[in-house]
Amino acid sequence: MNVFMPNTLAEACDLCAKQPDLIPLAGATDLLVHWPLRQSEHDKSYLDLSKLRELRKITWAADSLTLGALTTYWDVLQDSRAKSEFPLLCESARQVGAIQIQSRGTWAGNIANGSPAADGVPVLMAYDASVTLTSKSGARSVPLHEYYTGYRKSVRRTDELISTITMPLRKYDFSVFHKVGARRAQAITKIGLAVTREASAAAPWRVVANSVAATVKRCPAIEQLLQSASPIRKPDDFSSAIAADVTPIDDIRSTADYRRTVLARLLYHSLNGVCPSVT
């Protein structure tokens, strides 16, 4: 195993420009699961980002919140404004493992790791987050809902690193996050849902689901259904929109059928009385 330990983002970008097979590492909480058994991964090369202090900061601007790529779940839980401006960030952060994971795991690592069951990603996406990808040749911003291209695949080039995550400061009049797991703490998501409604916006709804497709996924058909005002009287009335948006599978944690059924019920019961067409 080769590990590179840069101290600045510029050094890190130089290294991954030279060596395209480097795997970036922040909290390492997913990589090290059952590590002694995963010998094939011991032979790879890693880029340890954990000492890039410039990436460990939370910045409030007049119209946005920016999380440096090393911001942990615990960091957000300690931020005095996060709970009032972006309550879903705190709700999801509390449900990632427990404090031992929240203190190490990073929001950007959750994005980069690309698990469809990622708990931090749905709420970031529901807040219209964008990701800054930095390389030796510059930086570009990508909307998070356009970041993934397939199962654990993304638009990030091998010479790029996630440097920041930015969310616009907006007025939301409704938001909800649900995580369905086998138990309340220390569970991996069977079905997750994050919904926001922006006050007085032309297209106010953001609906994001996880563990029901190859990636965490924004759900445009469900968003349109909510905006269309066509009446929804029972959970099944979400079925065709759900079928258009997600493609759940049977796996060790749940079944496709259970995931579709529960997603419909989560939507119906969360939005009943909130969205005027859901009664």
């Binding site: 195993m1 330990m5 090290l32 615990w74 427990a98 404090i99 203190s103 309340r184 703490a185 220390q186």
Partner: protein
Amino acid sequence: MQEHFIPSPIHDRSAAVSIRFNLNGRDVDIPIDPTERLLDTLRYRLKLPGSKEGCGEGECGACTVIIDDLPANACLIPTFQVRGCKVRTIESIPASSLQPMLEAGATQCGACTPGVVVTANWIKEHSDVLASNTMRALMAGNLCRCTGYDGIIDGLEKWIGKPPGGRS
């Protein structure tokens, strides 16, 4: 130090990395293998076997240590990541601290106990976190399969005192 029955999983097979960190108040400067987990470095290289391996996947909390003043699972940390950090293990906590836990029946087989005590001691030293977190939520990363959580929470209340509002 007695020889451990379990063979050491540490293999110095690739180029060693030299790191320095602060362990329980004293600086250590050691060569490690880059594949080494902090849990193995502590147990097998530094001969501090108090931190236990339960699940090896960051769920049970038996390997809980304090890194730069926050609880973390030593089984999920590559040792090279603690360079320059302050690491505290169960060995830094006086055995007398256990008394309230013993009296409340919060220990039985003992496998989870070091992790439980490390997290509990951290809560005790940072009791302001109880203003926005319940004891149960803060202890959710320490699984116990025999005592039951009521005993652990009773022990914590004896040790730390009831949280504000009386909600544990």
